[in-house]
Symmetry: C2
Subunit: 203 residues, 2 copies
């Protein structure tokens, strides 16, 4: 994807690279980590993001070939302007399914979205640990085969455990190590994959 | 505003309060700082937020009496579900004004929004330093009299300076001290004001 990079963004990347070392990362991993740090203006995120280069490539290929991109909440989708996004919470019947099955609405949204897109989608969870846990359950039962799960829910309750479970699952994944995460992080990871240009990184 | 607090949020606040001390803050300031930490799951934000209690009260009163709430970008608006939000970038003519005046589109959006809402609005800038700088210019020339400016743009370029200028301006304000900020922070500050309940804080 070609895009025009604003001079402010170019200057931001220059300053960022003077503050933290990104050379240790493989190309797509670097693109994701850099965009997260650019988005947060916080170099401490360089030690926080866990990603597998092959998984990222698979996710990027899926995104570029038009695979569905599904987020848990609207705020993640709002940060992605370069392509269409499906929001789990927007599926009809979310509230009813949540009530009848004792799920959070975010988890119910993921279940409904997975019924419609069981294979090859890219999933980006930026808010609810319960949404990520539901994706892992669906993958475990064979109802879901994702191209990539960007699992960066945030919070003091359940977020760390859900992201550790994602890493243990062996699914193609991006995650963060601590309680930190969020919609901006999820959107940054997606955008990094969308914007990346061979071979010189995402500039 | 009465709202139902999910058990996960209650547990999150309990954990958060065991990790950082919020007792030093005045009530509305505390509500803002707590919601920022809850949103980010990062207690280091307790030392980052600068707010004036009287300014927050004025902003809250404005929000509750139906004053316009204007954000720079859609991602801030997406984090606010409890009331209507106007987005600067959505004003017709933003691209043309930006091109003709040499402004960023975010700054052009603020200028157009200020023409429509010159007095008594609450402004929340979560992305672009240039949007905040434009608000300060408009206030300086007397074209803008805000009830509250939540100025938390993020980034390595201009964000720190624009927030320092906001604090120097004497305008009713919330800001952050470092390069950190963002849409989630802006939305959290607005939500803290909307959700706060006298007299026991925002629970």
């Amino acid at each position: 994807m070609r895009r025009t990079v604003h001079p402010i963004e170019t200057e931001s990347y220059r300053i960022m690279r003077s503050r933290a070392d990104f050379d240790r990362f493989a190309p797509l991993t670097r693109a994701v980590v850099e965009r997260v740090v650019h988005t947060t203006a916080d170099p401490s995120w360089t030690g926080e993001v866990v990603a597998d280069e092959d998984a990222l490539r698979q996710g990027r290929d899926a995104l570029l070939s038009g695979a569905p991109l599904i987020t848990d909440v609207r705020m993640v989708a709002s940060g992605i302007t370069a392509r269409e996004v499906t929001i789990g919470l927007d599926f009809p019947g979310v509230a009813e399914l949540a009530a009848s099955e004792g799920l959070t609405r975010s988890a119910a949204g993921m279940r409904l979205a997975a019924r419609e897109h069981p294979r090859g989608a890219v999933w980006a969870v930026g808010n609810a640990p319960t949404a990520l846990t539901e994706l892992l359950r669906l993958a475990e039962t064979g109802e879901l085969e994702p191209a990539l799960i960007i699992g960066v829910p945030v919070g003091f309750v359940g977020a760390v455990d859900s992201k550790a479970a994602l890493r243990r699952s062996g699914l193609p994944a991006v995650s963060t190590l601590t309680e930190r995460g969020g919609a901006a992080i999820a959107a940054a990871a997606v955008n990094a994959l969308l914007y990346w240009a061979e071979p010189g990184g995402n500039r």
